[in-house]
């Protein structure tokens, strides 16, 4: 596995670039062979299991998340099939409840968040101009935890132990009395797996963004996509502990007889709802803020100019994240909380529309008179505007503590949440996948098939979800496995089910396009002539990302490199895994840090932690056993790798 040799000839601008004489870096030329030996992943099974390369791990996250997307999609398809006509007996209520719970759980925990994390792990180091994430072994560990958590959930589902209390698992329905068996234990523990993984990604990316940016990339030069990931990762750190705490308490109530959620023992059901939605609402922003970042990444390449209003864009992202923690109660307007408190959350739910509105206005200003090139990635961005703005509008209606009483827990909400999540995250994600596919794989996607994917997704999506607004107003509650013929909900449901077929067709076209790309020509390093750093290296990037770490002097380093107007860091060690650590604010170099290489210990620790987590579903004793089992891998993980060298630092340009 040495992508460098394969693609280097196809790169029109091989590193180091043709710099003007005044900026030509001093010092010895980079020894690409030594860099590859230092940063490459060994071949074979050992290499695959031990790799700590952020690009390989990022691709694994993306691929795994897309597999879960397909599984969640199949579940959605079965739901639509069941609801396509009244009193269908295709699925019995037990299976239906498992399937809709699996659909929500898969899409939220196993697809949407991990796929964004995967894109972050792959692209953040490239966009900030470094060679790996800050904690490479932890990164590998995080992926394994995510994978094992997902497999655990689907293993349970295959054994008829899929969770059946909804992705929100309200107590007491999810408690020991009304959900006996291990279905909900598996669900709770899956949360622990995936949220642990999310916290790990958050820590890595925050440290990478703050400390490992290329020299000169001061705060005001960070690409907007990286800002979006930074904001998202901070949200993960604040939001995920709430749901891990909640699911841990649920597991304790279920397995060891604690009474956190039992009102007759001074527990409270609303405690669960508060903990869950304190995570659950920010979760929505955790999913779609990366989407906003992707839009800011894609638009400049096609509008051929910078995004307008960079400070406003950054402040909007931060404001959205901040306010995102102040509106969880709008999921609970029907539980009977005091009206004054509800009004506060209504105000917060209304005003959070403002920062997103400002971003939309800034994008419109960017596109104003730009005559954007209409390529497949851009087609998804246009769809985003239509779908997401509509979803935002219905969001205002749901944020109203009065009107929500009619709309809450109906198909209107199903329509709304798909408009914001598919509109705000999946359309931008597909746009980003079409945009970055050449960079990640070194292969090109077919243009016509890309347009077909976008068109089918847009038509199918609206056909599926628009009628659901009307169904909600006509009294159709969510999460029903069937409905009576007399309700008159049949025709609109049938229409929605037809839309689901079109969405499936769109995903299949994308799949065919991706598979077919193996036969197509190698991608250029910079097919879109974009402004960010990742386009200045080969497609796919070599294991060390950049032959020399670039020096950033503007917000558009990609265009600077194209003009040859860029400096590079010299005298970095080629024979060690060395990265440059810079000051968080102004990006001035501080020191060099040596990162660890491939290791099997992350996998070993992931296996022992998995034993502990899965075992504790059956007996709390396994927690103790697991703790003991974890000792050897932790010792191995921290075993010293030898003395590190810290020679002085020199920089050119």
């Amino acid at each position: 596995m040495s992508p460098r040799e394969r693609t280097q000839p196809a790169d029109p601008r091989p590193a180091p670039p043709e710099s003007p004489a005044s900026r030509r870096p001093a010092g010895p030329p980079p020894d690409l062979g030594a860099l590859e030996r230092s940063w490459g992943t060994p071949r074979g099974l050992w290499g695959s299991l031990a790799t700590v390369d952020h690009k390989r791990i990022g691709k694994r996250y993306i691929a795994t998340a897309l597999v879960f997307f397909a599984l969640g999609g199949i579940e959605a398809f079965l739901i639509r099939l069941q609801l396509s006509r009244p009193e269908s007996t295709l699925l019995n209520p037990d299976l239906y409840n498992q399937i809709f719970t699996m659909h929500g759980t898969t899409m939220m925990f196993l697809f949407a968040v991990p796929v964004m994390e995967g894109i972050g792990i792959y692209f953040v180091p490239l966009l900030v101009g470094t060679r790996n994430v800050a904690f490479p072994k932890l990164n590998a560990f995080g992926y394994w935890m995510y994978l094992f958590g997902g497999l655990f959930l689907y293993g349970g589902f295959a054994l008829n132990a899929g969770p059946d209390a909804g992705w929100f698992a309200y107590t007491p329905l999810s408690g020991p009395q009304y959900s006996p068996g291990h279905r909900l234990d598996i669900w709770s523990q899956m949360i622990t797996f995936t949220e642990l993984s999310a916290l790990i990604v958050a820590i890595e990316l925050i440290v990478t963004i703050f400390k490992q940016r290329a020299p000169g990339m001061s705060l005001q030069r960070i690409p907007l996509f990286v800002w979006a990931m930074l904001v998202t990762m901070c949200m993960i750190i604040l939001a995920m502990p709430a749901v891990m705490l909640g699911s841990g308490m649920l597991l304790l109530d279920r397995s060891t007889g604690t009474q956190f959620f039992n009102p007759s023992e001074d527990g409270d059901h609303l405690l669960w709802q508060h903990l869950f939605w304190f995570f659950g609402h920010p979760e929505v922003y955790i999913i779609f803020i990366p989407g906003l970042g992707m839009i800011s990444a894609v638009i400049p390449a096609f509008a051929r100019r910078k995004v307008f209003g960079y400070p406003a864009m950054v402040l909007s992202l931060i404001t959205t994240a901040f306010m995102g923690f102040g509106l969880w109660v709008h999921h609970m307007f029907a539980v009977g909380l005091p009206p004054l408190g509800n009004s506060f959350f209504t105000a917060a739910s209304m005003i959070i529309a403002l920062p997103t509105g400002v971003q939309i206005f800034c994008w419109i200003a960017t596109l104003w008179g730009s005559r954007p090139r209409f390529e497949p990635p851009f087609a998804f961005i246009v769809s985003f505007f239509v779908v997401f703005i509509l979803g935002g509008m219905t969001g205002l209606m749901l944020g109203s503590t009065s009107l929500d009483l009619q709309l809450h827990d109906t198909f209107f909400v199903v329509a709304h949440l798909h408009y914001v999540l598919i509109g705000g995250a999946v359309f931008p994600l597909f746009g980003a996948l079409h945009y970055w596919f050449p960079k990640m794989t070194g292969r090109t996607l077919d243009r016509a098939m890309g347009f077909w994917t976008a068109a089918l997704l847009f038509v199918g999506f609206n056909l599926t979800f628009f009628p659901m607004h009307l169904l909600g107003l006509r009294g159709m509650p969510r999460r029903v496995y069937t409905y009576l013929p007399g309700t008159g909900w049949g025709p609109l449901n049938a229409l929605a089910s037809v839309g689901a077929v079109i969405i499936a067709a769109s995903v299949l076209v994308f799949l065919a396009n991706a598979i077919g790309s193996r036969k197509r020509a190698a991608a250029a390093a910079d097919p879109w002539e974009a402004e960010t750093l990742e386009w200045t290296t080969a497609s796919p990037p070599p294991s060390y990302n950049y032959a020399r770490i670039p020096v950033v002097t503007s917000r558009t380093p990609g265009w600077d490199v194209a003009k040859g107007d860029v400096g590079e860091v010299v005298n970095m060690r080629d024979d060690l895994r060395e990265v440059l650590v810079c000051r968080p604010l102004d990006g001035e170099p501080e020191h060099r840090e040596q990162l660890p290489g491939p290791s099997l210990w992350p996998l070993a620790l992931a296996i022992t932690v998995t034993i502990s987590f899965i075992g504790s579903v059956f007996s709390p004793l396994w927690f103790v056993v697991g703790l003991i089992l974890c000792v050897p891998p932790i010792v191995g993980w921290y075993w010293p790798e030898g003395a590190r060298e810290r020679p002085g630092l020199e920089k050119a340009a």
Partner: protein
Amino acid sequence: MIGALALLGPVLPGGVPTPSALRPAAPQAAGLESLWWFMLWTCTAVFLVVLAVLAYAMLRPRTEEPPARRAAEIITAAAAVSVVILFAFLIATMATSRKNPNEPRPTDRIVQIIGHQWWWEVHYPGARPDELVISANEIHLPAGRDVVLDLTSADVIHSFWAPNLHGKRDLIPGRHNFFRLRPENVGTYRGQCAEFCGYQHAHMGFIVFVESPDKFEEYLASQRKPAAEPVSADASRGRQVFLTNPCVTCHTIRGTGASGTNAPDLTHLASRRTIAAATVDNTAGHLGGWIADSQGVKPGNHMPPHLVSSEDLLALVAYLRSLS
């Protein structure tokens, strides 16, 4: 009348029209409906304007970047307009919410509703404890009078929702939620549980009968009476079948020894239009089918199957049909 409606197409059990949040029959639902139209038209206008501007921005011939200062001014103005609209929504919301206070006053008629998996227990407290009326799944309310529903649950969380009358309010075990209704128009309205509550969440319906106050008092008076004595031999045998089978462990028929409280009170079962939480019409056929194979009608419900001979079943149905 039910037969005539059947010719027009399928109708809901009990001959009840389909629910709709946009056909209000009470001031509460009417207030929410006006708020809906206000927000819908405003949002539609904003949606169309933003998309039109976006389309124009992209379709114009390519020019230099717009001057930053001018663009910033326009964006600020657009943000200011957004804030005004958002505040209008907030004020409209709070005004609507203020019009619908839920706390009961001493003069209010209280109706208690207790959620069960998957049916609704309805209590109409009287002036004296022995005037309490207990029924299930069909709620009678006087037109033009304020009623405060006292909502709680016996098991998991449910949510009470009759879209034509008001929004929804949760039934939470260990809590009492009050919910004020003032149904104005005489008629029947369908509602359904709106919080996921397990296997038969889909079939946890109810019917609200809004009647003139006189008819409502008549209803309560008739419901206060103990169960009718069987008049036919069949019905007498049916009562014997009921009392000698496990039916009595869950169901109550006042005036007999049956006093279980896990399942709907059957004292006046024949006065109800539907059975199984407004899932099927209350006919002899459905009743027999329910007793013999309730799991076939609502899979997963808590009524176990009962092995009774066909003669016993017919007698039992005859008895239950006599409980008007």
